[in-house]
């Protein structure tokens, strides 16, 4: 008789929550800080506790288990509390700081760019900086949502490039519940600063089986999530799912696409991307960020530089346009790259289609 252990399915937010919870149980120096990471701070005596839990509810319930000393709701002061995270990381804690939306990093960019990322180097290697910065990002894309999204230009951005540009900072972008848990645990255990960008609208696409035990997904690696012979589609975050949708359609017309999930933006796993392109001889990079000075063009440039001889066609990028994110759902859907644009880019490489 064989039994199959029931593998639970978790949502993206639940997987991150479990990762943080398991690590906090293991290591008493881990603290969580941010705006409404619990919610209702200081009102426990009135029966209010754990009112919110962050935009993805990824920190919900942590205050119940670990208390207000380790789960710290902060005032609206990104520069201040992220700086406190930097100082705490230099002095014996492993803080996980939530910047509610990536759009808010303008309020604390110095702490990321000049402080956290550079400390280890400019101090001659004498300090560890085990700091995790979690932040939500992205548009609702073409999803016809009745609630959420539609947040406009200052709450919908995908600011990969301004983070990946900074030497010393690791930047990861999970795309599924499985890799979200593994990357979050890796980030917490890393002795340096790691930014985790969590898409707000992965929805059911990201839900999936997640082992109960703690495990890691390595930082600094891309993952080939679908093998193919004819073209490599590089996706980041939500765009990996768009690439997979496009690959399904392309297969129906006889084009066998490989899909690479760029789980870490920096340091970039160039080797695996180059290896993939050396087999498929074509590359389309799909990026929800705006294109000027972007990850899409960085990946394209690296492949052009180091893999040109293996290419049979020009590299294509599919990105958002160089505009702010618009509010109207019609415009926002048009702004966000979708499978149709990916398919169209692939067609252009084969000289087919519209």
């Amino acid at each position: 008789m064989t039994t199959t252990a029931a593998v639970r399915e978790l949502s993206f937010g639940q997987a991150i929550n479990e990762a943080i919870r398991q690590e906090m149980r293991r290591d008493p120096t881990i603290v969580v800080m941010g705006e409404d990471v619990a919610g209702g701070a200081g009102r426990a005596h009135l029966g209010f506790v754990d009112a919110w839990g962050g935009p993805l509810r990824a920190t919900r319930g942590l205050i119940i288990e670990f208390g207000p000393e380790r789960v710290l709701d902060t005032p609206i002061a990104e520069m201040g509390f992220l700086g406190a995270g930097v100082g705490a990381a230099m002095s014996g804690l492993r803080p996980i700081v939530e910047i509610m939306f990536v759009d808010l990093i303008g309020c604390c960019y110095d702490q990321i760019m000049n402080q956290a990322a550079k400390m280890h180097y400019m101090m001659g290697g004498q300090v560890d900086l085990p700091l995790v910065i979690r932040t939500a990002y992205g548009t609702r894309g073409g999803d016809n949502r009745t609630y959420g999204g539609g947040a406009g230009a200052q709450h919908s951005q995908t600011l990969y490039a301004v983070l990946a540009h900074i030497p010393g900072l690791k930047v990861v972008v999970p795309s599924t519940a499985y890799n979200a848990k593994g990357l979050t645990i890796s980030a917490i255990r890393d002795n340096g600063p790691v930014v985790i960008l969590e898409h707000k609208f992965l929805g059911l696409r990201a839900k999936g089986p997640v082992p109960e035990e703690a495990y890691t997904v390595p930082i600094g690696r891309v993952e080939i999530v679908r093998r193919g012979r004819d073209v490599t589609l590089c996706g980041i975050g939500r765009m990996t799912h768009i690439c997979a949708e496009a690959a399904d359609s392309l297969l129906a017309e006889g084009i066998d696409a490989e899909v690479v999930d760029v789980l870490t933006l920096s340091p970039l796993d160039e080797d695996t991307i180059l290896e993939s392109v050396s087999r498929t001889r074509r590359l389309v990079v799909v990026d929800e960020d705006t294109p000027t000075a972007s990850m899409a063009r960085d990946i394209a440039a690296r492949v052009a530089d180091k893999g040109f001889d293996n290419l049979d066609a020009p590299i294509k990028t599919v990105t958002a346009p160089d505009t702010p994110v618009p509010f109207s759902a019609v415009l926002e859907a048009h702004y966000t790259p979708g499978a149709a644009q990916v398919i169209s880019a692939v067609h252009s490489l084969f000289g087919t289609g519209a």
Binding site: P95, G125, D190, N191
Partner: protein
């Protein structure tokens, strides 16, 4: 020592006129005098900072490439008075004008000098320079030239002490110019609502680069801002190391007792320009500079110690001679030390995993 002996007025001269403030010590000296050992320690560190900075100035003027530097000369009593109230495992966070804070907290001068020379033996292995000198072994969290950011890091260190349940406190040095930036206010609010053991130390030297304080500050004194964060705020004579020390001891006691942060504003003066190339006479009067030098913190402390027969001239002279030797040694060490290898450009970009470090 009677309170009347300690009573003083601080004259702050400027082109727009003069105003005076009363030292809080006119209210009476609440702390007992430091021990004789502590008084000697103060004199040693006041004069070591002065010796370091004067030698550095000479090196700069003779063309030694030590990078961008901001001399601390004139403000020594602030760093020494505060650090005299701290324990070795307490933390400090510093500013761009940080050499004095480093020395007062115990960073070795030969490693500082080697850092300024860009040598591998420097405190930061030549990767930091004057504006990033750090030594976490002695609780020095870093010279930090992004104005105001150090305050937030001190808050983080204090949070760490609270969560880890250690008695450590964190002192944050910042200038009156930094009092205008949001990070300072966010840091003070966080420290106050979380009742963290932080001592905010504002060194009000009158100028943010070439911008005078009376232009950039909306209140007469930085210490007035403490009320907004429900913490004690005092203004002390920053040219009097004992006044600074007394205020710091009170703040440290409060912090260790779990009563939260305090703000100390030290009225002080930088003798030289904002940085090594700055001509102060384009924005402040010669008479003002002379008046400030007449209140030199080292000379006043020495005279006070001798007048009151607390310390002897011979031992103070011996300390100064020893300091000169120490700085001679620091310069020799820096000059003899190796320059980094080009491959060092690529080391320490990322923090290694714990198992890699053990190898």
């Amino acid at each position: 020592m009677g309170a009347e002996n300690m009573s003083r007025e601080i004259e702050v001269q400027s082109k727009t006129g003069s105003h005076s403030i009363s030292s809080t010590r006119t209210a009476g000296f609440t702390q007992a005098l430091p021990s004789r050992e502590k008084l000697l320690w103060m004199y040693e560190h006041l004069t070591l900072i002065r010796e370091f900075e004067e030698r550095l100035k000479w090196l700069v003027e003779t063309g030694v490439p030590v990078g961008a530097v901001h001399y601390y000369t004139g403000q020594e009593a602030c760093a020494v008075g505060v650090c005299a109230a701290l324990e070795p495992n307490d933390w400090i966070a510093s500013t761009h004008r940080g050499h004095g804070h480093c020395i007062a907290k115990g960073v070795e001068v030969h490693r500082m000098m080697a850092e300024l020379y860009g040598k591998t033996t420097g405190s930061n292995r030549g990767k930091g320079g004057s504006m990033h000198i750090t030594d976490v072994r002695v609780g020095m969290l870093g010279v930090n030239p992004i104005v105001g950011m150090g305050a937030t890091h001190a808050v983080g260190a204090a949070l760490s002490a609270k969560v880890r349940k250690t008695p450590q406190v964190a002192a944050s040095f910042f200038g009156e110019g930094a009092a205008a930036i949001g990070a300072i206010h966010e840091a003070m609010n966080l420290a106050a609502i979380w009742r963290l053991p932080v001592i905010f130390v504002c060194e009000n030297n009158g100028y943010a680069q070439a911008t005078p304080v009376e232009y950039a500050l909306s209140v007469p004194h930085i210490a007035d801002r403490a009320a907004a964060y429900n913490m004690p705020g005092v203004t002390v004579d920053g040219q009097d190391v004992l006044a600074v020390w007394e205020a710091a001891v009170t703040a440290v006691e409060r912090a260790r007792a779990g009563q939260g942060p305090s703000l100390i504003e030290c009225m002080t003066y930088r003798y030289y320009g904002h940085h090594q190339g700055d001509d102060t006479h384009r924005y402040r009067a010669k008479e003002e500079e002379e008046a400030a030098r007449a209140r030199d913190c080292i000379r006043r402390f020495r005279e006070q110690m001798l007048d009151q027969h607390l310390l002897q001239a011979e031992e103070l002279d011996a300390i100064e001679a020893e300091n000169r030797k120490k700085i001679d040694g620091a310069v020799a060490f820096a000059e003899a030390s190796p320059l980094p290898d080009p491959a060092d450009l690529f080391t320490d970009v990322y923090v290694p995993a714990s198992e890699e470090k053990r190898q």
